[in-house]
Symmetry: C2
Subunit: 329 residues, 2 copies
């Protein structure tokens, strides 16, 4: 073997090689490294010495854009700021500028319905670990053709998903407070589920209480019609969960739910529940089996279905505080 040294033109001439058509669903990327937006997927890259690669020293957010509006944008921006504060990551711009850059990047993509991922990294360094050695923090925003919501198989909502109790050790409480990119254990949860013929793995904490799934919060409806969700000690404060709980208040008013409670939830309660479902940005993910046993009647339950409808309505025509208009050029 003899490796070839590639010129810039050769790297880009080879570009189709590193993206098959199915993956080129990236519409636009802002990078504070470049100081602007690129629309060529081959340019949607990060310098290899960014500490988010080398050290997982960065945070991220994801939100969907529906009908030209960013969903729960302010909640995501608040969490981004909070994550940065906890790990003492100085923002590359003030929050207003970060918001504006993000919304403008979506605007440039031209897409009315898409998914948006943001990364705030410690910045480029010298491949060391010390956060004080980087030049400055960096912002990346990428606009994806499809929302996470579209990425979940329609089967989940129609037939329900299969879940297992995960045996991967739960991430430390620290990571429930910071939405960092250190997700290897979450990836292991997905791998374990996949190998067991399941769609989701559910983490319980060291005390045996329900925590979360790899990228979803998990809630139950018990036999008394109470919607229960865990405390925030060992799970991330999901924006989908927080909004879902707000929307579920409607179902208490109509009598479909008998209450909503944030509390410790035991495996016993999870196994006995009438419904189990995941909540993530705008998505409800009914889980109809757990460790091979049927949950409820084995089909998505009435609360999950109602909540999914409420989410769809909220994303399409909800109040101004959850729908931020995209400034299209």
């Amino acid at each position: 073997m003899s490796l070839k040294v590639l010129s810039r033109d050769e790297v880009f001439a080879g570009s189709p090689r590193w993206r098959d058509p199915g993956r080129s669903n990236y519409l636009a990327m802002y990078s504070s490294v470049f100081g602007g937006v690129v629309t060529d997927p081959a340019l949607m890259v990060m310098p290899l010495d960014d500490h988010v690669i080398n050290r997982g020293d960065g945070i991220f957010e994801y939100f969907p854009v529906i009908k030209g509006h960013a969903y729960c944008f302010d909640a995501h921006m608040t969490r981004l700021r909070r994550s940065a504060e906890i790990i003492s990551l100085d923002l590359p711009f003030d929050m207003d500028t970060i918001k504006q850059i993000t919304l403008e990047t979506v605007g440039i993509s031209g897409s009315q319905d898409c998914g948006v991922r943001m990364f705030l990294s410690r910045g480029m360094g010298n491949f060391g670990c010390d956060p004080t050695t980087t030049a400055k923090s960096l912002l990346y925003v990428i606009v994806l053709k499809t929302t996470v919501w579209e990425n979940f198989p329609a089967r989940f909502l129609k037939e329900g998903a299969r879940a297992i109790t995960s045996h991967v050790p739960l991430k430390m409480g620290f990571y429930a407070q910071v939405k960092s990119t250190d997700y290897l254990l979450n990836a292991m949860v997905d791998l374990e589920a996949h190998r067991n013929g399941a769609d989701f793995g559910i983490w319980f904490d060291q005390d045996g209480h329900l925590a979360e799934s790899s990228t979803e919060n998990v809630v139950i409806v018990d036999q008394e019609g109470i919607l229960k969700y865990p405390t925030f000690a060992h799970m991330l404060r999901g924006t989908g969960l927080v909004r879902g709980v707000q929307l579920a208040a409607e179902l208490v008013k109509t009598g479909e739910l008998n209450g909503i409670r944030q509390t410790n939830i035991t495996p016993y309660e999870v196994q006995e529940s009438a419904e189990i479902f995941g909540l993530t940005s705008g998505s409800v993910l009914p889980m109809v089996s757990l460790d091979g046993r049927t949950v409820g009647d084995g089909r998505p339950g009435p609360i999950a279905r109602r909540l999914s409808d409420l989410f769809e309505k909220d994303m399409a025509e909800g109040p101004a505080e959850v729908r931020t208009r995209i400034p299209y050029p």
Copy 2:
């Protein structure tokens, strides 16, 4: 504000902006995305959708090259393969090919003395978490002008470094077995040390036993002249530690050490020790104060200095099994 959409040429025209001269010490990078080597630092990039960015789903290694030979190369390659096995990451090539690519990339750099970082990532995906959704795993190798050894201030070896007991929660045992890029807590250890006017933070495990520092193993020499190092339950099996222990056997023969022992080490023992030092690929890092208290006589101790000399000799003219010749073109 109105963001600018940049062409490929504009991105690269702006390239000097994103690397000040002090940072352009990257000599060559191999990327299996490109299928070859680049020497322009502006091309030393990773696709933003690589799971190592988004999910910390990847592993890495670092080794120094001294006088045209990779130091402890086989030990690093063995650990890389082991890390990959533990997280079920299918190698992009067989190990022989990975080794050859790595050594050839160093050869192309032309450097006789440099540092080499390797990343094995789960590959490009769709920004999801599930490891089964990526196209294929990827290999990146980057050659740095300076070795880690050169990066540590000369002061450490001459005057000794300052250490503190870290209060950052220790990473889980899982991460002691896998050299993954999920290093945010390690970065927090460095930040805490920095804020306390120290050079290193030392982690103790949940049982109170000595674990490691952010990127170094930590060993002690007790008052009886026994070199003690922790078990591998809560610290990474550092190649520098393993080789250091082999080299230290020489000091037992000469009577400079009275023994070498792998055992649990309490904070009490650490505080009472004659010497404390860090070990990393080819480097000895004497720590002469801990939490503001003086260790030994406040200067790098005799064992640390002797071991440092042994390392230097080993790197320059050690046996074939620790010195792998670089194939320069």
